[in-house]
């Protein structure tokens, strides 16, 4: 295996249509962060309506809602906001950031490979996101607006073929906006499938000598298992999207019941399909998708926690088995999204059993993280704080899942804010904190500079406090019975008293949203003026820290020879005076630049 090889590359070949996994990873990173802010803006729109229902929105209200007296948000606009918030965050932020950015960047470096198995396919997997981006952004400005039937797009509200033109009588956003939504996500699915095939092949085939499977860091294990999830689940979503696209355009009836549907005065033709079929197909992908959205973060968090605990990972093999267990069980629990849907309740019992069991490997992981940080030498750097927040808040997100796994209790909580609380604890508070940990940790390797520690900690503190103040009370309003996806949040008598909590949540959501600009500023400014990073600023043991910061094309100056596992910290194999033993000592070169990090 050759290491670095130089050849002349044009600017376009080197930075735009790059086939270098590091550049592709950074491309995914940049676009994910841009969409993070779009998704966040949409969320602030949702929270504005929920915090101050039917209020006149200052400044932009009259421009956005010219039809309403005084600039008030319409329910149709609100419905579009929550739909697109979820769509953008799931498909354009979390999945590309975790798998596209970090999967791409870390896998070859951490297994000792010069690049991915299929560099051209890798480049395509990024560029296939661009039609998705453009189509989705276009959907905001077509007649009827962007999709507005929830990111779940259930038939028949989303799926009916329009009687004429491209407007749907069922819902404003179910016209051209929905068609574009379906098309865009098909591109996202293809991009992810390309990536997953690449990752699986690379990890199986291209590990450096001595890098056995059980010497791989948790990040790589997590990315590997996630890629398998993607490869197996995405085809089902793609099929579902195409079925709905056909239903909407050429009049197939995959999701239209035999008697059709009657919207107001308009009746469709006869059907022959089943609306619930969509739910099965959609959730067969989307449940594994939520594990796609957390397992990589769990892997990264494990690596960050170990590095800043200066201690081996507690229970490495159980941790690997737990990731596999979560993924495997994740394929047989999709019906828990459908307990109350009209699906045969006996199936519900089956899905309940599998769902309750999934709590077990998740619990095992939490206990092992606690074991790792016990009797440790913790360095509370910014990445470490974010990783610890992941653990603390994933506990809450995971525990709240047990209520919903219990079918009789789910009868009450389904489609209430309790679900929204759960979602955001596992997605924002877990995945996003995990992503922040990964960014602060691998930034020096990506860009050759360190992010600012002080502002990183300010960002962490503000986000940690404001996010909990915003999202925890959602459990409470959910217990009070407030439904989700309500443009007018608490109008019914039994929940009218919950408005105060909604306003509280909105205020903290705004604080949290604005705090992210600190991260953005830190990220951008450090690219230019951050302190230059050494090869191994964190004194970590895994292979990527044996390369220059950033690594050159081909990654390693010589082929790594791996002689130990990834987590040999504070043990007998460490050199005297050091508390870590690198996986491949043949990569070590004398440090030229002192480590400027304050520990």
């Amino acid at each position: 295996m050759s290491a670095t090889h130089t050849h002349e590359q044009s600017f376009v070949g080197k930075y735009i249509f790059s086939r270098d996994h590091k550049i592709i990873g950074i491309q995914f990173l940049f676009t994910s962060i841009i969409f993070l802010f779009l998704g966040g803006l949409l969320a602030l729109g949702v929270r504005t309506q929920l915090g101050w229902p039917n209020a006149e929105i200052p400044i932009i209200g009259k421009w956005l809602f010219p039809g309403s007296a005084g600039g008030k948000m319409s329910p149709d606009f609100y419905n579009m906001l929550f739909t697109m918030h979820a769509t953008v965050m799931i498909f354009f932020v979390i999945i590309p950031w975790l798998t596209g950015a970090f999967g791409n960047f870390t896998i070859p470096l951490m297994i000792g490979a010069p690049d991915m198995a299929f560099p051209t396919l890798n480049m395509l997997s990024y560029w296939f996101m661009w039609p998705a981006f453009i189509i989705m952004l276009m959907s905001f400005v077509v007649f009827g607006g962007a999709a507005s039937s929830g990111w779940t797009s259930y038939p028949t509200i989303a799926s009916l073929m329009m009687p004429e033109g491209t407007t749907s009588p069922a819902s404003m956003g179910s016209g051209l906006g929905q068609i574009l939504w379906l098309t865009s996500l098909t591109f996202v699915g293809v991009s992810s499938m390309m990536g997953s095939v690449n990752y699986i092949t690379t990890i199986i085939n291209m590990r450096a000598p001595g890098m056995t499977l059980f010497r791989m860091p948790m990040t790589v294990w997590a990315m590997f298992i996630t890629a398998i999830l993607q490869a197996m689940a995405l085809p089902v979503l793609t099929v579902a999207l195409i079925f709905q696209l056909l239903d909407k355009t050429i009049g197939t009836t995959f999701f239209l019941p035999p008697a059709g549907a009657t919207i107001g005065n308009w009746t469709t033709g006869p059907g022959g399909g089943q609306p619930i079929l969509w739910q099965h197909l959609f959730w067969f992908y989307s449940h594994p998708a939520v594990y796609i959205m957390i397992l990589p973060a769990m892997g990264m968090v494990s690596d960050v926690i170990v590095t800043f605990s200066r201690k081996p990972l507690f229970g490495y093999k159980p941790m690997v088995l737990a990731v596999a267990g979560i993924a495997g069980l994740g394929f047989i629990v999709w019906g828990h999204h459908m307990f109350q849907s009209g699906m045969d309740p006996r199936l519900g019992t089956g899905f309940m059993l599998a769902t309750i069991l999934i709590a077990l490997p998740s619990a095992v992981k939490v206990f092992n993280w606690l074991g790792t940080t016990w009797n440790a030498n913790l360095h509370l750097t910014t990445p470490m704080l974010n990783a610890l927040a992941f653990v603390a808040l994933f506990v809450i997100g995971g525990l709240s899942g047990i209520f919903m796994a219990a079918t009789p209790v789910d009868m009450y909580f389904h489609n209430t804010y309790f679900i929204v609380a759960h979602i955001h604890y596992v997605l924002f508070m877990s995945s996003i904190f995990g992503l922040f940990a990964g960014v602060y940790y691998w930034y020096p390797k990506m860009f050759g500079r360190l992010m600012n520690e002080f502002w990183g900690k300010v960002h962490f503190f503000l986000t940690f406090v404001s996010a909990n103040c915003a999202f925890y009370p959602m459990h409470i309003v959910g217990i009070g019975g407030q439904p989700r996806r309500y443009a007018i949040p608490v109008d019914a008598d039994y929940m009218a008293h919950l408005q105060g909590l909604n306003t509280w949540i909105s205020i903290w959501a705004i604080v949290m949203g604005f705090s992210q600009f600190i991260f953005l500023a830190n990220f951008i400014v450090s690219l230019f003026t951050g302190p230059k990073a050494s090869r191994n600023p964190w004194k970590a043991a895994t292979l990527e820290w044996g390369t220059p910061s950033p690594p050159g094309h081909g990654n390693f100056e010589k082929e790594p020879l791996v002689i130990r596992g990834p987590y040999e910290y504070s043990g007998p194999e460490c050199a005297p005076g050091e508390d870590y033993a690198v996986q491949a000592p043949n990569l070590v070169v004398p440090e030229g630049i002192p480590t400027p990090v304050k520990r």
Binding site: L360, L370, A376, L378, P408, H414, Y472
Partner: protein
């Protein structure tokens, strides 16, 4: 700095615990449960809450302790790759708890939702007020049997046939919009349909939720255990928000039992709403039903039964 971060984590996590603890007293909690199965469901909720609280406190305290303990400079980390004993401990104990939780709830779910259990109930001769609810954008259309059919219970065989055939339309059915009227301690079986998109029937006080699917009729049953409706002679209508204390009625705003839609259904999803009126006796219910029938017959243009989804 470790103490600062220990305090940060600790106070946020403690704040979460305290907010949850005070919520019932602040009235930010479950609405009153008034069905025959709401006690079982609430018990299960509290059982899970207890288990969850225990593990929350255990793990978060350990985490905060770990953060605080690690502050000493020059501290050496313990070199260990794990402990098989601990792994067994924290796999088996949660595993047993989870399996127990799973097993104790199966009957509760089956009794409420399994159509086979409902069928068995009919075969045993239990009596249900069977009614139809057809959801549409953005209202619920209730279809009651006529007072004559309710006054005298039908034979068990006829009732079962109605159940199996999903309560066919009859010429003398009484049609009402958005209001579900039942009477106390009487089992009610709703045949739930939708004519356009997905909707849902959610009665927070009954703890009952069932989504409606286009193309299907789904049976849903409940038994209300508390009356909240009495006749108001001045307005000659029945009003809710009443609580019975012995033979007296007391005004109580908590005794308004809402029905809300919880399956996203378009523009007015958040305004699609009904009410559950629980009459104290069958006679009182019949009096209301007769009045509703008269209103049906008097009014021109009353929505008549539309057999869109037979």
């Amino acid at each position: 700095m470790h103490r600062f971060w220990g305090w940060t984590f600790g106070s946020v996590l403690l704040g979460i615990f305290l907010l949850s603890a005070v919520s019932p007293w602040m009235n930010w909690w479950l609405p009153k449960g008034t069905s025959s199965y709401s006690p079982e469901i609430d018990k299960l909720f509290y059982l899970i809450l207890a288990v969850v609280t225990f593990f929350y406190v255990l793990t978060e305290v350990l985490l905060v302790v770990n953060i605080c303990r690690s502050g000493a400079p020059g501290r050496k980390a313990q070199f260990t790759h794990g402990s098989q004993k601990l792994e067994l401990l924290w796999s088996v104990i949660p595993g047993v708890i989870l399996v127990t939780l799973a097993v104790v709830q199966i009957q509760v779910w089956a009794n409420i939702k399994y159509p086979s259990h409902m069928l068995q109930s009919f075969e045993k001769g239990e009596q249900y007020l069977q009614m139809g609810v057809e959801a549409r954008q953005w209202e619920y259309r209730m279809r009651y049997p006529s007072p004559a059919r309710v006054a005298e219970w039908e034979s068990a065989a006829k009732a079962k046939e109605d159940f199996v055939r999903r309560l066919p339309e009859r010429f003398d059915d009484v049609h009402v919009v958005n209001d579900v009227h039942v009477w106390k301690d009487q089992k009610v079986l709703i045949h739930l349909k939708t004519r356009d998109v997905g909707h849902s029937l959610f009665f927070p006080n009954l703890r009952l939720k069932q989504d409606a699917l286009p193309g299907r009729t789904i049976p849903v049953w409940f038994e209300a255990k508390e009356a909240n409706t009495q006749f108001n002679p001045a307005s000659k209508t029945w009003t809710d928000g009443w609580r019975q204390e012995g033979s007296q009625w007391v005004s109580d705003p908590h005794n308004v039992f809402d029905l809300v839609c919880t399956q996203y259904c378009g523009t007015r999803h958040s305004l699609m709403r009904g009410k559950l009126y629980v009459h104290p006796t069958k006679e009182d219910f019949l009096a209301w039903l007769k009045q509703a029938q008269e209103l049906n017959n008097d009014k021109k243009g009353t929505p008549t039964a539309v057999a869109a989804n037979p």
